[in-house]
Amino acid sequence: MVNPEQAGGAFSLLWVIIALPALGAALILVMGNRRTSAFAHLLGCATVVVSFALSLVELVALLGRDESHRQVVQHLYTWIHAGSFHADFGLLYDPLSAVFLLLITGVGGLIHIYSVGYMAHDERRARFFAYLNLFVASMLTLVLADNYLLLFLGWEGVGLASYLLIGFWQARTSAAVAAKKAFVVNRVGDIGMALGTMLVFATFGTVSFAGISAASGHASQTTLTILGLLFLLAACGKSAQVPLQSWLLDAMEGPTPVSALIHAATMVTAGVYLVVRSSFIFDHTGAARTAVVIVGAVTLIWGAVIGCAKDDIKKALAGSTMSQIGYMMLAAGLGVAGYPLAIFHLLTHGFFKANMFLGAGSVMHAMDDDVDMRHYGALAKALPITFVTFALGYLAIIGIPPFAGFWSKDRIIEAAFADNFVVGLAALIGAGITAFYMTRLMLMTYLGQKRWADHVHPHESPTVMTIPLILLGAASALGGLLLLNNWIVDWLAPVVGSATAEHLPVPVAVLTVITVIVVLVGVAVAWLTVGRHEVPRTAPSKVSFVTRAARADLYGDLANEALLMRPGDEFVNGLVTFDDHVVDGAVTGTGNAFSGMSATFRRIQTGFVRSYALSLLGGAVVVVFIMMAVNLT
């Protein structure tokens, strides 16, 4: 239920949180790369860090308020007013926005700081920071918007920034293509968002969350289900869920901090945010919620399977992101019981995935930008800080107690079992596969025999890169504290409501033990298949069907090509042929007919004045005869 009050006091500074990174981006972009290269990285970091500080201030202010008064809205100005359509530029600050602000500016800020070191040798670093700032500003707009239209503005801004950043090294064809692919696939999701916004206005006569929240109970079931499905489509695009998952793996073409930003703090979390923010719609439609759960369950297995077969360290992590977001979607689809769990997993995932991506960046930094894990091995000694922090993230993602991921994932698995046995089983199996591929990644990268070439000399990254790693590693280890005393669930209750007790077929403790056992089995399998043997430097080609499918991203691109691209091509080719022959044929045919006629008739113009005079006379005689004939009758 969204029922905000007017902002006052500390909350009147909400707009500054968005304005700072936006200003940073604008300043750097307007002044240009060369003129700002001396200070752009400092400006970029400072704006986000100050935003983070402000977010903390706002959080404290919000904590100081009574639980029933924890939703405030800051009305900045009327954005669009036309007839009965009205959209404000208003900011909604509630417990949900609050945790997102901290995640985006906190994790985003650490990624900014890390980028100072990572992009140090890139001559377009200033531009890079402008794009990062734009990304953060758009995401902040998205989570602070108090209506769907403003949310859409942030949504598109995020899409634009991701396009610019994935294709940052646009001289590389693969990067340019990946950026375009991400943009196009996102556009499919955006159709859902745009149509959803329109349908919301058509149904409720307003686009503000507060207005819709108050009226959502009166709308027809069908409308609400369609709305839910449209927003699910939107979420699938942004959050890389099946069937719009294909852009995420290619998005690894961007610089590594971008991958971290996309996967942890911004972009892919937007879809989950949209579903949770639209809880007032999803609460009333079981059908749409079921669709969300199915999408989540399919994606979490899908991404995990892909993660198992990838030798590219970033792509393995990307598969893992897809899978973890699947967990969040699944939880969000469970309804009131699941919303806080989705957000909780989103937060812990933000910590450990940012940590691991930045760790992967650190490894690439050490290995001269080689991403093939088959060329790594035994890096633990060469990169001690990266190894330890990465290990914390690893323990968190596979769900070993007491690290962050255990608390969030275990709760989702419980909730899934309480809802439906099959869904719960999918979540449980997903946890096992996660343990397998993450252990495989750890073994291939940090342990075993060294497989790198002699001319490579791995070295630990500079301090500006290791400090974010250490902080994020600590967050990965301690993120579970958010669940202390069920805090996160109670905290989000004013926004998404609170659930009644779950009914599990078995005691919670038993399920927890089973989950941990499944995880340990995954680890053991990875140890047996990868850890015990020497890892070949080139990927073996004689592999099972499943591995081949997973290496090809489970044929997602192939399916898109066969189902959408080829028929589209054929259709367009047909239209071109029609245009060339039928439309152009009619136009040029008419022209040819007239020029042929004129070629014949111009022979009349002989140039002899007397023949003209004769035809003049003949014409006059004819006219006279006609006049006589008319007069006689």
Binding site: R602, R603, I604, Q605, T606, G607, F608, V609, R610, A613, L614, L617
Partner: protein, 99 residues
């Protein structure tokens, strides 16, 4: 009063003019034949005005005279120019403007 003799004269003059325009090559003669046709029609107009007892035809005849005077100025100038450049006053020689 019967107008027949005048009208017959007018038709005769008009026909002479017509034939002259169609058959003669000398531009000056063609030009004179055109004037002849104009005056033939003037004669017819005046005759009808006389027969009908009103002034409409007379007024029309004045207009024709004014136009004919203007035409003489322009036409003779053209013929002079053509003669100066081509050393010929034949209307058949000036046949460049064709297909």
């Amino acid at each position: 009063m019967s107008g027949s003799p005048f009208l017959i004269l007018s038709a005769l003059l008009f026909t002479i003019g017509c034939v002259g325009v169609l058959t003669r090559r000398n531009a000056i003669v063609v030009f004179m034949c055109v004037e002849l046709m104009l005056n033939a029609s003037n004669l017819a107009l005046v005759t009808f005005a006389r027969v009908n007892g009103n002034l409409d035809g007379q007024v029309a005849a004045f207009f024709v005279m004014v136009v004919a005077a203007a035409e003489v100025v322009v036409g003779l100038a053209i013929i002079m120019t053509i003669f100066r450049t081509r050393r010929s006053a034949s209307v058949d020689d000036a046949s460049l403007l064709k297909y």
